[in-house]
């Protein structure tokens, strides 16, 4: 469904991605793991149009999408939940969700998606009139995911959904990610520092180090790989 070939991204004179290859099959959960600063976030930002690609290609559904404007990419129902959640803290929960559905014209479809979001994250329903800035970190992450679901994505990219969240909520959120993938058939590309969790729920994994993919395999094999265990899974 998504095919990234030899993708390069530069920040000024610094090269953040030295040509990475990545394939995500429709219906799967694929994870990209690696240390801080390895280029995980940059890869997602390049796919969603927030960073310029200096070279290589990005193909989504057979169409080239590299260097399209972000709103053009969302229109293709490829949606990105960015690192740090980036909910609109000045807007209410409801308004945040409405912004997620910005490109959806069909009112009934919006109502349906909203019901689904409130169904998987009942906490958001309780707080729908609240300004998003007053939510806890975990609630904001739920809102960020819910907001992305409002755009009716076929492909969802999640950047560090566990970052800065109470451990008990991390578990809930990862269960919801699996649920979204299973029930809605939404393909997921997940970036995580918490490699344990990520490899547990994903089908396939890529390991990225200083802007290069150094390993890719099924998640199960990666979990057993001694090098991966040592570097990312705590031995």
């Amino acid at each position: 469904m998504l095919e990234v070939k030899n993708l390069q991204v530069n920040y000024g004179v610094i090269t953040a991605l030295h040509g990475i290859d990545l394939t995500v099959e429709a219906g799967s959960i694929v994870t990209l793991i690696g240390a801080n600063g390895a280029g995980k976030t940059t890869a997602l930002r390049a796919v969603s149009g927030l960073e310029r690609c200096a070279g290589g290609s990005i193909t989504y559904d057979g169409q080239p999408i590299a260097n399209l404007a972000p709103h053009e990419i969302v229109r293709r129902r490829l949606c990105h939940v960015p690192e740090g959640r980036m909910v609109f803290a000045n807007l209410t929960v409801l308004e945040n969700l409405q912004m997620g559905a910005y490109l959806v014209k069909d009112k009934q479809a919006i109502a349906r998606e909203m019901a689904y979001v409130f169904n998987i994250f009942p906490r958001l329903k309780e707080r729908e009139r609240q300004v998003a800035g007053t939510l806890s970190g975990g609630e904001q992450q739920m809102l960020a995911i819910g907001r992305a679901l409002m755009s009716r994505p076929r492909f969802l990219m999640l950047d560090e959904p566990s970052l800065g969240i109470a451990p008990i909520l991390v578990k809930t959120i990862f269960e919801k990610i699996q649920e979204i993938n299973r029930d809605h058939g939404i393909t997921i590309l997940l970036v995580e520092q918490n490699a344990n969790l990520a490899l547990e729920i994903s089908h396939r994994g890529y390991v990225i180090e200083t802007g290069r993919i150094i390993l890719s395999d099924t998640s199960e094999s990666l979990r057993k790989n001694p090098d991966v265990r040592k570097a990312y899974l705590g031995g």
Binding site: V74, C79, P82, F88, A89, M99, Y102
Partner: protein
């Protein structure tokens, strides 16, 4: 009684500042820079009305209300288009450059408009009398004498503020404006076309400036291409005093500035110092509330 008189006068003047200040603060909200050319948009608004008036009044009769409405409408439309055009040509190419670059460009655009319009092939530099658009009367409330124009300014400003509030708080495009203002990248990830929202913001702010410019011209002896500088500067200060980026703040700041200016101007013996007094008070406000009257102090994210 005299001070009540001055208060009403100040409210009308302050309403004009408020309308202009909203444009500064809205653009700051989405792009984080001060559009110094905004003061010249209001001048163009006044000139648009000046040139439209003979034709429209020729059809609807002089000082007719429908005629005046049309003049206001088309002047606002012209300025909205001008605002959008300025953003597309001058600011958009610099979107990812340092804000200082854009700020200096804005000053350049402002000077360009001022001095191009002074050319005799455009508006010329001499002051021209502004036509009467609506019948002006003095209305007596007991001892109080109020100009009907001041009342019109007040009422129209209130209506425009209510309309703006509705757009920003209740409509989809207004919500998108607030989203872009909070985080443009996140807004882009929602599928919002940032350029459309920015154009819309410029159109809205410039249309309000056009109306303010016409109101300002109605109170002035005449209009000339540099007429926007004074009210523009004051409105900019009003936006800062109210809390830059904050819409109710800009309106409040404008009113506060207009009232202080009118009251200080009416004090016996110090009326020549009214600007000094007004600005001293504003500096005091900013000393105690650096983020402005309604602004919230925000820590810089690092």
């Amino acid at each position: 009684m005299f001070y009540i008189q001055q208060l009403i006068n100040g409210l009308a003047l302050g309403s004009i500042y408020a309308l202009i200040a909203l444009g500064y603060t809205m653009v700051y909200g989405v792009l984080r820079f001060i559009n110094f050319a905004h003061s010249d948009i209001l001048m163009v608004g006044a000139f648009a009305a000046f040139f439209l008036a003979p034709g429209i009044q020729g059809i609807f009769g002089p000082e007719s209300i429908p005629g005046a409405l049309l003049i206001f409408f088309f002047s606002a439309l012209i300025c909205a288009l001008l605002g959008v055009l300025i953003e597309m040509l001058a600011y958009r190419p610099l979107r990812n450059r340092p804000k200082l670059t854009v700020l200096i460009t804005a000053i350049g655009v402002s000077l360009f408009l001022e001095f191009t319009c002074q050319h005799k092939g455009v508006f010329g530099s001499k002051t021209r009398p502004f036509p009467t658009l609506i019948p002006a009367q003095e209305i007596h409330f007991g001892e109080l004498v109020v100009s009907s124009n001041d009342l019109v300014v007040l009422i129209v400003t209130l209506l425009l503020l209510a309309a703006l509030r509705f757009i920003v708080q209740r409509t989809k495009i207004g919500t998108a404006m607030r989203a872009v203002s909070f985080n443009p990248q996140a807004a882009a990830l929602m599928g919002i076309n940032i350029n459309h929202i920015i154009s819309f913001t410029f159109a809205l702010g410039s249309a309000l400036a056009a109306i303010a410019g016409i109101f300002y011209a109605m109170r002035s002896p005449g209009i000339e291409p540099l007429m926007g500088i004074q009210p523009g500067l004051r409105a900019f200060i009003a936006a800062v005093v109210g809390g830059i980026g904050n819409l109710p703040g800009a309106a409040l700041g404008g009113i506060v500035l207009g009232v202080i200016e009118a009251i200080a101007g009416g004090l016996p013996g110090v009326s020549n110092y009214r600007d000094g007094i007004a600005f001293a008070i504003l500096i005091l406000i900013l000393l105690f509330r650096p983020a402005g009257l309604l602004g919230k102090f925000q820590a810089e994210k690092v």
